[in-house]
Symmetry: C2
Subunit: 339 residues, 2 copies
């Protein structure tokens, strides 16, 4: 209910996803029943696999994260997370208030065994491919071990969902050399280097889109700053371009002839094309779609949710995190006593 475009794109996406992805057993649409029913009535859909779960409240974009979980207990967002908690659903997806969604997930579901802090991971386009960036805002004050755990979780996601055979992991920093960075990244660099991961080393801002790695780990403050700054820059360049191209009739004519290029460029630069962000490390599959996501974007996000379930991303995370931590603190061998 709480996305920028209300329930419409979610309802549409659910109907389409059931058609496209037979691996989805059932979709529950959680929200104000009357509104959802009215929208569903106009769409052809598989009634046996789609049902509505009523929730009377809506978390708005203005609601405060933790407060919304405590006060709006019958919100669509809270109820949807509850369904995962109670084992009625395997995954939850929301295009609503990001902070509120993460708070609900963390408070109700908690983290996977061994994971101290989940990381919000988003797929970003690069010059000739894509990469996973995490954390983009779940945890603003990260410790070195969290960044290393993000590497483990990001690697599993890249392998299972993005289909990368041997994902290269990069650490976001302010220089490519090992000794460049802040206290957090210098220590995280050592942890990643000593881990069994395919660690590439530092990635600095200039190389973000250079297809050097498949996963970039960073703290939630920096990740959020980088993600939003990139989106803002893309919008700025597009706004400038629009201004420049409409400045005189000759330019307008040129724009008209090359219209296809601008349409395709917009599509490439549009975050909607890249589905949702996933809260890796939460004890349940939690997918955050963009607030402005259209039905197409939400439909891809639903596919990601289904893939994460069938490819057992969370089970793999539990195993890998345990292995990584064990290697760091190996169990003491049982003492042998010669008497």
């Amino acid at each position: 209910m709480g996305g920028d475009h209300g329930p419409q794109p979610v309802v549409e996406a659910a109907a389409t996803a059931l058609e496209l992805y037979p691996q989805i057993e059932h979709i529950f649409l959680v929200g104000i029943e009357k509104e959802l029913n009215a929208r569903l009535a106009t769409l052809s859909h598989d009634r046996s696999r789609l049902s509505i779960v009523h929730a009377s409240e809506v978390v708005t974009m203005e609601d405060k994260a933790v407060e919304s979980v405590r006060r709006k207990r019958d919100s669509s967002l809270s109820r949807a997370v509850d369904m995962v908690k109670d084992g009625q659903a395997d995954a939850v997806l929301s295009p609503g208030n990001t902070g509120a969604f993460m708070a609900a997930a963390l408070i109700k579901l908690r983290t996977l065994p061994g994971v101290e802090r989940p990381g919000l991971a988003t797929v970003m386009p690069s010059l000739h491919g894509k990469f996973l960036l995490l954390d983009v805002g779940a945890n603003a004050d990260a410790r070195p071990q969290h960044l290393c755990d993000y590497g483990v979780m990001g690697e599993i996601y890249a392998r299972q969902i993005l289909g990368v055979a041997n994902p290269r992991i990069g650490l976001f920093s302010i220089g490519t050399e090992e000794m460049k960075g802040n206290e957090l990244t210098l220590e995280a660099h050592q942890l990643l280097k000593d881990s069994p991961m395919n660690f590439f080393g530092n990635i600095e801002g200039h190389d973000l889109f250079a297809d050097k790695v498949d996963v970039i780990v960073t703290d939630g403050f920096t990740g959020n700053a980088v993600l939003k700054s990139c989106e803002a820059t893309s919008r700025l360049v597009h706004a400038w371009m629009k201004e420049e191209l409409s400045l005189n009739p000759l330019r307008k004519m040129g724009t008209w002839l090359a219209a296809g290029a601008f349409r395709d460029l917009k599509k490439k630069a549009n975050p909607d094309e890249y589905g949702g962000a996933i809260l890796l490390g939460a004890n349940g599959i939690c997918i955050k779609a963009h607030g402005k996501a259209n039905a197409n974007a939400i439909c891809s996000a639903l596919r990601v949710a289904a893939d994460a379930i069938t490819r057992q991303v969370n089970k793999l995370i539990i195993e890998e995190i345990r292995l990584t931590h064990e290697k760091k603190h190996p169990a003491q061998p049982a003492p042998t006593i010669a008497a």
Copy 2:
């Protein structure tokens, strides 16, 4: 000597700057005399205001920051900073290795009285104007007070050099609300709020270019991440655009007609157009031009250096920092004793 294009753009810029800016008394070109002389010989210039100071070594982009200062004592970079230290020059400008330049400035010049950490400040374009971002990399592990000091220094720069009457100061964070951020920004927010500055509040990545403030303060890690990510995104969009526009003859024709728009767009998005970055808080005017800067960009950076000298930016910083710190820790009134 150490910029990406060697001394050529610097020599050209110096000759032009002396013509354009009568307020510049003298420019010293520091570097390998033979090379500089050969380049000067081809340019008309005011011989009475331009001289060459020989330095036998060159700091390369690969040299390590602190090591380069210790080992290459006769580098053009070190010698130029020495001239400020020894009072032979009021300002130093370099398009060379940023880390080495900052290290030389900090080791040789140290900071202005009251300033604990200098901040590297750069002017960035916004949708309809520009803003100053600092720190973009001088100090990767900042404390809240440093961010507050960056506000004081940035305000003076915006007023004196950018000509903004009452600069609005923003704190970069991951949400606009006061309670959004990490430990560092939450504390810095309070300091800025309690200061006499025209503090706007938090600025998040999405609002970077929205002309809401004139100065944005952040720690050197985040600032560097944001600056480079923005530059990388701009390059990415331009590379995609080029690809799309050359995909078929129709698009190529359109591009040809609208060529002026792309030329102007490139100019707007080109960091060269925005002169150099200034190391605010160093005990001497230190301007870092972009490594790829052309003569035009270096010439604007020389104007900034001259303005910073004539408008006494550093004197104002010392005064304002003292006032701000005094307000925080007011001197105890002399006790009166009734006996």
